[in-house]
Amino acid sequence: MRPLIIAALSLGLGTPALADWQQTLDAARGQTVYWNAWGGDARTNAFIVWVGEQTEAKYGVKVEQVKLTDTATAVTQVISEKAAGKDSGGSVDMIWINGPNFLSMKEQGLLHGPFATDLPNARYLDLGPDAAASVDFTVPVEGYESAWRLARFVFTYDSAVVTEPPKDMAGFLDYAQANPGRVTHPDVSNFMGSTFLKQALVEFAPDKAALQAPVTEEAFAQATGFLWQWYDALRPLMWREGATFPENQSVQQQMLNDGEVDFGVSFDPASAAGAIAEGLLPDTARVFVPRDGSIGNISFVAIPYNAANREGAEVVANFLLEPATQAHQQNIEVLGSFSVLDATKLNAEEAALFANLPSSPALPRLADLGPTLLEPHASWMTKLVEAWGERYIK
């Protein structure tokens, strides 16, 4: 693994960008990067520990995870620091971020950058204007955050209990009619809960192109007509008659494991396989996606404008894009989340890293996952959550 990285690094040494990179590496040595990341997933936490061990050995950069219950906590911290006039030496070095939180921080000028396009390993990414790693919820990334893992919206279920999972979001209504109280979704104030609604929105919206532009009252009314009709019919048939919802996806996974509901949701196609390995779901757990595909996006890391250990954070962001790192991350025994790299940009040796990963019966093949549907513009999510609140929080 190591000779490969050294070879990769030595390839382009001498170009100006990489001379700069050497400066970054020098400055980063000895830094400790405080990576603010949701801490509810033990596997992700363990992966971050591994990343820290690797970067410390290779570049002398330590990583400490600041385990968040909610990404917005880190955003609030940066805002507090800005309010206090602390424009350098900030406590948040790197944030696992995407979607609305990224949009907020970018709009408020709270991010350092652009840096992502200058990372040496950015050459493994497809950074074309419409490529998945260039837009975050249709908001142009413009180098203010760097990709690290791929997310696909999937449902988990126990194949010993549910023999035929719904074919699409409309199918959930049929399922709920036959099995009242067995369907739910995470609370809509939670990211995964709003994604459940977005998946339905994308499926039901008559004009899918409108979802890619910032939301307007008129476009919203048009796009959500059938969605609310469907949801009004589904809600009374949901767990606890749709009066209360699990706090987040992990709580819902636990409910699936306890047999309280029949479906879980996840942004990780390997979640069922991973949970089985962890003893958190029965061996018969599987994942499925709606027939016409599901929402997908990329998880990014961003660096706040006042980060104390900015160079170290760049080194870690770059390390996350190493083919060897991405292959390790895709390993079902580690994280099992699919690589963000453009497979066509890997050489034979790098591609082999991915080909030889272990498999699991609960792990879907890429072909089973169907097409990736685009995230609506971030403003749609905010509006959807707001409208849902107005309709259903009494």
Binding site: Y34, G39, G40, D41, A42, N45, A46, V49, V66, K67, L68, T69, A72, T73, A74, V75, T76, Q77, I79, S80, E81, K82, A83, A84, G85, K86, S91, G99, P100, N101, S104, Q108, P180, G181, R182, S189, W239, R240, A243, T244, F245, P246, E247, N248, S250, V251, Q254, N257, D258, G259, E260, E278, G279, L280, P282, T382, G389, Y392, I393, K394
Partner: protein, 567 residues
């Protein structure tokens, strides 16, 4: 001697004012600025009432408030009634036994207890598992709202499990100051039933002594966050949970109405305390009329047994909840409807590197530092009172207990900004300071009464023999007070271990303690790992209470008169 006392008191008062009261006020000022539209960091610069309008328009606002009032006031009234009934029932009979049974419930942090209780009560939980499918006939869990119910019943039960033991502890110490035995005997001799003597004679004397702790319980129940997230209704949640959600919504602009809500939360607590005081007045009149009627009835007897039964059920639930976490921490797969895990594993305990080792160390360091500093401050304050030969003024009382009476969320955000400006955020020191705000008042509660109850004869004897005030403090008072000092220390340590929001805000997320890790992991809901944290979280204070009982017994093994101590 008086001047000496005044100087000591002055120093402590200044430390409190500068260290506690001013930061809280400054924190509020920051929150208030944001509530009225000014938060330049998000480009909000114009003073306005928009944040308040936005708050009133937020969906669920009315229900949030109603839920908070019902669960907060309801649980406080119930806790008081149950604790009073229980004390009347067991006083002088099984008090020692009950005292020991209280310790784990007092020591267990709220979050840990709530996680265990949620597992116990949920339709797929431990109780259902023990009864299924045999008794219930369920082979899969029914769709029943036994936790997170819309009325907040599960939340009230959770609050009661924590608050009844606290009130019992407080009542126990208050009763120590009254001639209960004699009054009971006199009452019985006059033909009053046991329950009647308690209701008509003893409780009216106890109440003024426990009034402040009741207000603390009320303020706490109205602003509790972690317990309400785990056990309370979620859609809409209680007001304090809604505020936390608004503060952390992806839409940054919501910070403004969230700040307004945080201020309003203070109003809610103040309003509830005001209402309580009004209700006290009414109760006093009704009570006097009832007293003068002079009925001797035995009718309160069955009431006592009902209260006693309910408290016993609450204790059983609490102990089972903690036990279920212990079982989970050794489980691998444990699915419905198995009464015990299908497979066991030490894995959750085998990976201290993944967090619990460091978190436990940080928790102990912070807890011990906070406890020692608070004890030192409390001793200085009480000694100051002694030397000045005066009781505590009202303002001093308010100043000491202020941090417990105002909702944390109202000033922690602003306090964090202040600490950042001073450049001390994100470190152990900031966390210790912030925790002291909440630890010191509890240490004072635990220490004040025993300190005052100290037999002054010994001090006079020492003074007559020429001992200086300092010598009297070090050589006579403190050794005699070892037991209450240890108990106060244990209380302080337990409070420190349980602190969530202050640690999170002031540590900038970098200081990971067992409690911050447990709450974070609870959002990931792997009960086995949560079990490890919760066991440690409850275990550390338990050890502290154990030490508080054991150390005096060892130190004074040759001094029987001190073993009971001045408690």
């Amino acid at each position: 001697m008086k001047a000496d006392g005044r100087a000591l008191r002055g120093v402590v008062a200044l430390a409190l004012l500068g260290g506690f009261v001013l930061p809280i006020i400054a924190g509020f000022a920051q929150t208030a600025r944001a509530a009225f539209g000014v938060l330049p960091a998000i480009s909000a610069v114009d003073w306005s009432l928009d944040a308040w309008r936005a708050l009133l328009d937020l969906p669920g606002f009315g229900t949030n408030l109603r839920l908070t009032l019902v669960t907060g006031v309801g649980s406080t009234v119930l806790a008081l009634v149950l604790a009073a009934g229980f004390v009347a029932l067991v006083y002088g009979r099984w008090a020692g036994l009950m005292g020991r049974a209280l310790i784990p419930l007092l020591a267990a942090p709220h979050a840990a207890l709530a996680i265990g209780l949620a597992f116990l009560l949920t339709p797929s939980g431990w109780i259902a598992r023990m009864l299924s499918p045999g008794v219930t006939g369920w082979d899969r869990p029914p769709d029943l709202a036994t936790v997170n119910d819309g009325w907040g019943v599960a939340l009230i039960i959770g609050l009661l499990i924590k608050e009844v033991p606290f009130l019992l502890l407080i009542m126990g110490s208050a009763l120590g100051q009254l001639p209960v035995r004699g009054q009971l005997a006199a009452g019985r001799a006059l033909g009053y039933g046991r329950g009647m003597v308690w209701a008509k004679v003893i409780l009216p004397q106890v109440y003024p002594l426990i009034r402040l702790p009741i207000f603390i319980v009320l303020a706490f129940s109205l602003s509790v966050v972690d317990l309400a997230i785990i056990l309370g209704p979620s859609n809409p949640p209680t007001f304090s949970v809604a505020i936390v959600r608004w503060f952390s919504a992806p839409d940054i602009a919501l910070i403004l109405p969230a700040s307004a809500a945080a201020l309003m939360q203070v109003g809610v607590v103040a309003g509830a305390i005001g209402l309580w005081i009004v209700a006290e007045g009414v109760a006093r009149r009704v009570g006097l009329w009832w007293l003068r009627r002079g009925g001797r009835g035995h009718s309160a007897g069955p009431g006592l047994w009902v209260a006693g039964g309910m408290v016993a059920v609450l204790f059983a639930l609490g102990i089972l909840a903690l036990l279920s976490l212990l079982v989970w921490s050794f489980a691998w797969r444990w699915s419905f409807p198995q009464a015990l895990p299908q497979s066991w594993s030490m894995r959750a305990w085998m990976t201290p590197g993944a967090g619990w080792g460091d978190a436990a160390r940080a928790t102990i360091v912070i807890g011990v530092a906070t406890m020692l500093a608070s004890l030192a401050l409390a001793i200085a304050w009480l000694e100051g009172e002694d030397r000045a030969r005066r009781g505590r003024a009202g303002w001093a009382q308010v100043m000491i207990y202020l941090p417990l009476l105002v909702p944390q969320i109202g000033f922690l955000y602003g306090l964090n900004v202040l600490f950042l400006q001073m450049g001390i955020s994100g470190g152990m020191l900031a966390v210790i300071w912030a925790q002291m705000l909440f630890v010191f008042p509890y240490v004072m509660i635990a220490l004040s009464d025993p300190w005052r109850a100290l037999d002054r004869q010994h001090l006079r004897a020492a003074a007559a023999l020429g001992a200086s005030p300092w010598r009297r403090l070090v050589a006579v008072k403190l050794p005699m007070l070892v037991r209450p000092l240890m108990v106060a220390g244990a209380v302080g340590f337990a409070v420190s271990v349980a602190q969530y929001l202050p640690t999170l805000f002031m540590g900038a997320g970098r200081v990971a303690t067992l409690t911050t890790e447990a709450v974070t992991l609870a959002s990931g809901s792997d009960r086995r790992i949560v079990g490890v944290y919760a066991v440690l979280q409850a275990g550390l204070p338990f050890l502290a209470y154990g030490a508080a009982l054991l150390v005096p017994a060892l130190v004074y093994r040759n001094r029987r008169g001190l073993q009971g101590g001045a408690r």
